[in-house]
Subunit: 393 residues, 2 copies
């Protein structure tokens, strides 16, 4: 029996994980692509990330594998502004934020927030532009393939518990608006670059103000000491260094809200009438095998997410979508916002094979074959674009 | 409002996690207790572990916190023999093991095992001696408090799938016997020190041969490339560097099985008639607060595990067990073998408080107040011994 199975690049490292080797040997942290990890994320696993720019790092498709949870050392980075000074995580519980648009507005520290309750939720964090590389047109922005996404354990206080403690929402508010604590350079109007996002107020049902990520205080690079997590919503809505949470009648005036993250036809400018990048859609991709191999039995593996409704099933095709087989879901159900690893063992004959996956969620949504191009290359969940070609034999 | 909440030591580190700091600064990895991390586990987070000896490292109680999953960098280490050379993880899929006591016995590589199926299970890994420090008598062995336990995501092939592929169990076998791949020094009879454990054959229902831990290939220090995982069973039965799996009529002749890990009265020698350390029992412990603090509202947090049956509830007492309140379970249910974080927010007045927790599992088992001493200090799950004293005011 000749066998073929997904190869994780890091498995070639002698010893333990790549991070370990770097730490032990004292070698600088160089990613697979030969790019040096930026200092603020020098603790990432260099063998598992692709450095696009100092503010954009992607997890390799191979490293995503069939992991139930994405290790923090592998999780992607996408910063709209540079992170604040690490002084803000020196005394995390002293971090102060304001709550507005409630009956009793005011400032509250992270230490006090922890006494209002807590909840742990497993939720996919995914950049709006994940999959941009699979569009045919030249959409500007990082050319993410599959790796601007991870499955993360978040712990924090439910937004609804904070609202209850502050006397409830005041008036008829349509949006939940979060403001990030990044520094705004002098002389610039804040709304031009400030990271401030509004989501429909209904999202407060599942939103939390999170202080822990994967069982550890949220690293500065991922928005610690406090991050707004809106499970089921694209990454940009999960505001880092949260310094203000407001219930508002209107959407934020910030550019990132008004014209940024708007889905529109190619060549059209962003404006507030267009759909905003809010809820994620059903999606899946194969993470292995990714390389040519000999004829034989092949373990196909990948990841599937339902968006705002749990994945109910994944089909896999080895012939570019002519025939489909049901894959097996791996591991415990971690709730509607988590991804599910899947796998299928098949026999492949010599020749080229196009491996594709197609997920369905509890709402009955299934990934489309194609996904319409849009100006910024957002939200791609077409199965054909995510397919991989492997040469067997 | 004066507030008190659990303090994680690592939160005082500027930047991100302790490991990060060590990696960035190039400082040697020194644990909180000032002990240097052994080279083979230099990738552990020094601020979160206690180094007892080079083969025994414990997670600090504070670092355990309320984490749903124990990060690999925090997980305890307990080796009965030194780990083999890291050459065995240079090409993981080439690792070969033998399967015996089946209709078609033989050798199989890890690469081939991966084609027989896969399963992901979240299971507590816990040393038999966890809690030994809470016995009044002087039981020999590492003085583990709560930190020889972690909640881990394991991925591997179900033992029952391997058995099916090899024609089923041959004859009437009572035990599932796993043999570790540690090197046996010349001149020593293997049974004197070999790590070989037998568990009742019924445990094969949930047992897996695991290659991934927390989404990464199992580090050498934790038994990679292949480890037998028997969810619900004490750590010693989860044989590392698995080189042989056999269905046997009798228990292993190894000392670690015959006389080791036997529960017997203080002063009595081990023998095969005594109960072996197999199934874990219901247990919980508070992880915060652990230090004196001012009067006020306190967030009490901790961890609870059901053994072989899921935790159904946890009660917390702030007066040494006179009164109990139901705590809230955190996060998704990760299955019967996982632990559940819990928390309770209470108001504490000035003075000494004895904080205790008491868990119940699906079988209706509840932690006892006291736990009978035994020669080696195994299996302590008494709630009084695990209580913590804090001075408020």
């Amino acid at each position: 029996m000749t066998i073929v199975y997904p190869v994780k690049r890091r498995q070639f490292l002698v010893g333990t994980a790549g991070l370990a080797s770097a730490a032990v040997t004292g070698l600088p942290a160089i990613s697979q692509e030969g790019e040096k990890l930026p200092a603020y994320v020098a603790w990432k696993d260099p063998s598992d990330v692709i450095v696009h720019t100092s503010e954009t790092l992607e997890t390799t498709r191979a490293a995503q594998g069939d992991a139930l949870i994405t290790p923090s050392s592998d999780l992607y980075i996408r910063n709209n502004l540079p992170a604040p000074s690490d002084e803000i995580v020196a005394d995390r519980d002293a971090w102060e934020m304001s709550i507005e648009g409630v009956a009793e507005p005011g400032a509250i520290t992270l230490g006090d927030l922890k006494l209002l309750g807590s909840e742990t939720v497993v939720a996919v964090l995914q950049c709006s532009g994940n999959g941009r590389a699979f569009f045919d047109h030249e959409a500007s922005g990082s050319q993410w393939a599959t790796g601007a996404a991870g499955n993360v354990i978040w712990t924090g206080v439910p937004v609804r518990a904070v609202v209850d403690a502050m006397g409830g929402i005041k008036g008829d508010m349509s949006f939940l608006t979060g403001t990030g604590g990044e520094e705004i350079p002098d002389g610039l109007p804040p709304e031009s670059i400030q990271v401030e996002r509004s989501v429909p107020v209904a999202a407060m049902e599942q939103a939390i103000l999170a202080w822990d990520m994967n069982g550890e205080p949220i690293p500065l690079a991922h928005g610690g000491p406090l991050r707004l997590i809106v499970p089921g919503y694209y990454g940009v809505n999960n505001v880092k260094y949260l310094k203000r949470l407001a219930f508002t009648a209107e959407e934020s005036p910030a550019k990132i809200q008004q014209t940024g993250y708007r889905v529109r036809p190619v060549g059209v400018s962003g404006d507030p009438s267009q759909p905003s990048m809010y809820e994620m859609s059903v999606k899946s991709w194969i993470t292995g095998p990714l390389e040519d191999a000999s004829t034989g039995r092949v373990r196909i593996e990948g990841l599937a997410m339902g968006g705002t409704s749990a994945v109910t099933g994944v089909e896999v095709s080895t012939d570019g979508g002519n025939n489909w087989q049901e894959a097996e879901l791996l591991g415990p159900d971690m709730g509607p916002y988590a991804w599910r690893p899947f796998f299928l063992v098949v026999d492949l004959e010599a020749g080229m094979h196009t491996l594709a996956s197609r997920a369905t969620n509890g709402n009955g949504d299934t990934q489309p074959e194609e996904f319409e191009p849009n100006e910024r290359g957002y939200g791609h969940n077409g199965w054909r674009g995510h397919a991989v070609e492997v040469n067997i034999g």
